[in-house]
């Protein structure tokens, strides 16, 4: 019946009832005269009205109220619903019940969720629900509960799902709780489930401890995908966005339960996207670690403002075990502004996984040095660290104070004492090599060669992997540091004693922090902030104990070295380098910016010279700074400038390639320097004053960024950047099946296979840099030659061509040839760079600099003059196709904003036959696929590298690998094309504390 028709009937019905019965027939004759069906309707209603009697006159409310009061509703246990026999109640709430049931057809147990009637009555909503439940049931993921059926028997609609034996996170929280590693493991699995769901366009929206089951075998299952928005009429996520209103749990027992896990945008009732789930996961993770929710309130009214605007207390307040990196991950997940949050579940998963691996590694290391749990040492393994210095290594166990200076002795004697001493020693030594990237003979030799810095102890202070800069407060109580997360930097302050970690500035794109320095009284942190592409920074000041940053001075120079701001010993004056056009000036001024005085000026225009950095000596006499010239290697020196009159003198005669940072020792006897002598990594050095004598403090493959000391000089803070690299070998068709061939991390770069199945690689590992050979199973590692790079194996496998600084007439490289075992190295010609061999064995293709261009050349292997293949632009790093027809290379057409692209050039030379528009600022390694159909290169996004293949006949590049973590440094196919070797590893950068470094 249509509403208007009903209105008509109703009007006549009312009018008729208003009349006495005797008049009704006459009235209806008139009112319905041309519409007999209308009259029939009205008459039947009048008839009903007369017969209805007490129908619905007694409110059913009483029964309802009683029912409500006694609503332990009857169970359907033992009953049959279609093929399912219900065997037990798993749970029930006011609006739905869940039974354990046996599926008679398949003999399996299922969980049967009965949908509330009111829900299924709304057809539109039901349809949406079914649509979503079907989408969710298509999610085939080990961490997502499997939906078997969305069915209906009689008037009862139900959902049959996988039955999971285990407990929910909620149950576990009220019982045993979680260790950090368990919590990480669970969070990783949830993130993995969310990743799969989000990829399919499904948002969960109700991630909470009740919705996550932990199976007895440790598998985690996320429940209620697609059911999460059961009570929401707005329904289906389209393009993973859909509106919602503030949501209250459908279970009356836990009305406020869900509010705790809501994202700020959910609490505000804004449009949701997949990032809401990441916030909720952050809340769950927080609760697993601390056993309490990050936001606590009795009512939604109390909670919502907290969720929307309050930062949760640091994890460290409730957990002594939570590592910094976890704090960092949780903070990032709990960002109020979803733009600042993890953007994808995968990003969060990558960070969680990385942390888990680090913890596992630490634990494994701890186990290695603690064979006997009854030992005093074994009781202190938690904070054990591997300490490395240039000349010795010390393993510190637990609290350093508990051990004598010679920890190594203790450990070595421990090893000797132990029954399995020899084997244990081997494992221990391996662990040291793995952990510190250093050689064990130094450990063995150390007692024979006492040196300065003998008792240095290095302890990790963060485990985030993304630290950029750091400074320690003069009293050593605080460490301020910057985190660089995929180009978004943020500033943090961590209390050394409690580990409590406070965010000072939110992550921002394009912002870079440098020169972190505390004021002498420790009340303020000063930092330089650079925005956009600007090379000049502004000096800011922020109160250490909270407050807004204040801009102090513009145009502070940060070129070449960090523009360190230095304070006078009395804290009243500061020194910094100002950038003004082509002039760089070392200035001294009062801390409020007044009373500016120029000490040293350098003219960039005339000689390309600069001054940079400043360190004010504790005796108030000298300011150290750097003077250097752009564009030349090893051209940076340390200056000592007299504070009183600006007179300069040399601090030390040492010439450096780079100086990153420096700080005075408290007795003014010298400085600690972070610097590099050549292309190698930035290392820590001690430079004595006034003698200028240089001592090396670290000798490893790490970079050390920044030097910051406490007033008493007892503690040094720096950022240690570590890159691991492992060799992976796998079938070409399935790179995912690759296995790690090498146990320890090394520098594996520029891989290439020999025809007899060895892998040639380049390592820049300190003293051992050069070309090496290794078998695919990781054995037989041998160095073939030192100080060499870019190996190319001849087609017959007899020779390896390479380039080296040796034998070059002037700057640049020379092309060399050696036998494949490293014998008979011969210099072929000077000025040649990277080389490649043709498959016919007749030519070596190489690039060579010519004035402003770089051209490709070919050199006959049988001897003779080289011939030029290209005559314009810049072509570098040639790779010859396996069929011998083409050369692929990095190609740059000079001009403003020039970038490298990938060009294909005929083997006989000429202009590129094709240029693929995949721009890059850096030269890339290129490798042909074995079928010569595509050229492959590394594509790195958000710290994860994968291999892309660009078909040479055009079309979109195809992704060859699906790695979720790590960088790819190099890769190469075996000669038969069946195997693929990949060098991969992670890069981490963390704040470290160094004590007793003198």
């Amino acid at each position: 019946m249509r509403p208007d028709r009903w209105r008509q009937i109703d009007e006549i019905f009312q009018a008729a009832l208003d009349r006495v019965p005797a008049e009704r027939a006459g009235f209806l004759d008139h009112a319905c005269k041309s519409d007999p069906s209308l009259r029939r309707e009205v008459e039947s209603l009048i008839d009903s009205a007369e017969n209805a009697g007490s129908f619905i006159e007694d409110p059913v409310f009483k029964e309802a109220a009683e029912l409500v009061a006694n609503s332990e509703t009857e169970s359907l246990v033992g009953r049959q619903l279609g093929p399912y026999t219900m065997t037990a109640v798993l749970g029930s709430g006011g609006m739905g019940e869940v039974y354990l049931a046996q599926d008679g057809r398949l003999g399996r147990r299922v969980a049967l969720k009965l949908l509330p009637r009111y829900f299924t009555e709304d057809e539109q909503r039901l349809r949406r629900f079914q649509q979503e439940a079907r989408a969710a049931s298509a999610l085939n993921h080990p961490n997502i509960i499997t939906i078997f059926e969305i069915g209906q028997v009689d008037s009862i609609r139900f959902l049959a799902t996988e039955y999971i034996e285990g407990e929910t996170i909620r149950q576990r929280l009220s019982g045993a709780g979680f260790t950090v590693r368990e919590a990480l493991d669970i969070a990783i699995q949830i993130a993995s489930a969310l990743h799969a769901a989000h990829q399919a366009g499904i948002i969960h929206r109700d991630i909470k401890p009740e919705n996550i089951m932990i199976r007895s075998d440790g598998y985690v299952k996320v429940l209620d995908f697609g059911l999460a928005k059961l009570p929401d009429t707005h329904g289906v996520p389209e393009n993973t966005e859909s509106p919602t209103a503030p949501q209250v749990d459908t279970d009356p027992g836990t009305v406020l339960g869900t509010v705790n896990y809501m994202s700020p945008e959910q609490a505000r009732g804004s449009t949701l996207d997949s990032r809401t789930d990441l916030f909720s996961l952050g809340v769950v993770l927080y609760e697993m670690i601390t056993a309490r929710p990050p936001f606590e309130g009795k009512t939604a009214g109390e909670l919502i403002p907290l969720i929307v605007s309050k930062e949760p207390p640091p994890l460290a307040r409730y957990s002594n075990e939570a590592p910094d990196a976890l704090q960092w991950i949780v903070t990032k997940a709990l960002r109020k502004d979803r733009e600042e949050r993890y953007q994808t579940a995968r990003d969060m998963m990558v960070d969680l996984r990385r942390l888990k691996q680090e913890l596992e590694f630490e634990a494994a290391r701890a186990q290695v040095i603690t064979p006997n749990t009854g030992d005093p040492i074994a009781t202190q393994t938690r904070a054990q660290d591997v300490i490395d210095t240039g000349d010795r290594q010390v393993i510190r166990t637990g609290d350093a104070a508990a051990l004598t200076t010679s920890s190594t002795e203790v450990i070595l004697s421990e090893i000797k004492r132990h029954k399995k001493g020899a084997a244990l020693a081997a494992i221990l030594l391996m662990a040291i090599v793995v952990g510190a990237g250093l050689w064990l003979n130094k450990l063995v030799n150390q007692r024979a060669r006492p040196t300065p810095f003998q008792t240095m102890q290095l302890a990790p202070f963060t485990a985030i992997g993304k630290a950029a800069e750091a400074a320690i407060s003069p009293d050593g109580k605080y460490v301020a540091y910057a985190i660089d997360d995929e180009g978004q930097q943020s500033l943090w302050l961590k209390q050394a004693a409690t580990g409590s970690n406070v965010s000072l500035t939110p992550p921002a794109v394009g912002t870079r922090y440098r020169g972190l320095t505390f004021s002498r009284d420790g009340n303020y942190l000063y930092y330089l902030k650079r925005e956009g592409g600007n090379t000049r920074a502004a000096l800011y000041q922020i109160p250490t104990l909270g407050g807004e940053p204040r801009k102090m001075i513009d145009d502070v120079s940060t070129d070449n070295t960090p523009g360190i701001v230095a304070f006078s010993p009395d804290g009243k004056q500061m020194a910094l380098v100002r950038s003004a056009g082509v002039t760089r000036s070392l200035l001294v001024m009062n801390v409020d910016g007044s009373g500016e005085r120029n000490l040293v000026t350098a003219e960039l225009a005339a000689k390309g010279q600069f001054v940079a950095g400043a360190a004010w000596s504790p005796d108030n006499k000298t300011i150290a700074c750097v003077r250097g010239a752009f564009g030349f290697t090893r051209s940076v020196t340390l200056l000592a400038v007299n504070v009183a009159d600006g007179v300069e003198r040399s601090f030390s005669s040492e010439r450096w390639a780079r100086i990153n940072a420096f700080a005075w020792l408290p007795d003014a006897s010298g400085m600690i320097l972070s610097a590099a002598r050549a292309d190698g990594p930035l290392q820590l050095w001690h430079v004595a004053y006034p003698s200028g004598e240089v001592h090396r403090i670290t000798n490893d493959l790490n970079h050390y960024f920044g030097v910051s000391l406490t007033t008493d000089g007892s503690t040094l803070v720096t950022v240690q950047k570590n890159a691991s690299s492992y060799l992976w070998i796998g079938p070409s068709a399935e790179p995912a099946r690759a296995e790690r061939a090498t146990a320890e991390s090394n520098d594996y770069d520029q891989l290439c296979w020999t025809p007899d199945g060895r892998i040639i690689f380049v390592s820049a590992a300190g003293d051992n840099s050069g070309i090496w050979s290794i078998k695919p199973d990781g054995s037989g590692k041998t160095q073939l030659t030192a100080n060499a790079a870019f190996p190319a194996v001849s087609a017959d496998g007899r020779y390896i061509y390479f380039s080296s600084e040796r034998g070059a007439d002037g700057p640049g490289h020379a092309l060399w040839r050696m036998e494949s075992d490293g014998g008979h190295p011969t210099v072929l010609l000077s000025g040649a760079e990277t080389a490649a061999c043709t498959p016919d064995g007749k030519w070596v293709i190489y690039s060579a600099r010519s004035d402003r261009n770089i051209f490709l050349w070919k050199l006959p292997t049988a001897g003779g003059e080289p011939a030029r293949l290209t005559d314009k632009d810049i072509a570098e790093r040639p790779a010859v196709s396996p069929d011998g027809k083409f050369i692929a290379c990095n190609y740059l057409i000079p001009g403003p904003n020039g970038q490298f692209r990938i060009a294909i050039i005929s083997i006989s030379g000429g202009e590129p036959v094709k240029i693929f528009d995949v721009p890059s600022f850096a030269i890339r390694e290129l490798r042909w696929t074995p079928d010569s159909h595509a050229i492959t290169y590394v594509d790195t996004r958000r710290s994860v590298s994968n291999l892309l293949a660009q078909p040479i006949d055009g079309g979109a590049p195809k992704q060859l690998t699906d790695f979720q973590s790590d960088y790819i440094y190099s890769w190469s196919w075996s000669g038969d094309g069946k195997q693929l070797a990949i060098a991969r590893g992670a890069q981490t950068s963390d704040v470290v504390l160094i004590r007793d470094f003198r």
Binding site: P59, A69, G78, R79, G94, P116, D232, V255
Partner: protein
Amino acid sequence: MASSQVEVTQLLLDWGNGDKAALDKLVPVVYQELRRLARHYMRRERPGHTLQTSALVNEAYMRLVDYEHMRWQSRAHFFAVAAQAMRRILVEHARKRHFAKRGGSAIRVSFDEAAMVSEKQAADLIALDDALTSLEAIDPRKSRIVELRYIGGLNIEETAEALAISPATVQREWRSAKAWLYREIKQGETIDEA
């Protein structure tokens, strides 16, 4: 403010502004409060004593809603919500009971002998619920009036206030709704029997 007040108040406003989803969120909250209050009363009242129904809902309202800061209509909305919550609860219960009876399994359903809804009542309730749903499609206000009066237990005046209409209108609409529903149910029964 007492427990849940902010969310209930906001949900009521949302629902009053036409957000259907708000009702789904309100019902469980109201359900919980009614249940708590009803239990409280049941313990205090002598057996067989009739609950003062509107008093119950009123009390739930006072507890759940920040009523001092609400427009007066919110109370009406609340009563309507309470009635809807009751209706859902009743019908849900009735359907399950009905199903359990007809299921015919060998295992006897363990249901509370003291359950207030008899088998006949259960069938009637389901029929009424279906009929009310049909009525709502052509005349939502009449459906609401029945909900408020029959399930929510409001008298004519309270219903009028809740819906912001005159008591006379409530009376008139009630009689046609009652006739319509009665006929609908009788017709249904006839068909069932046929």
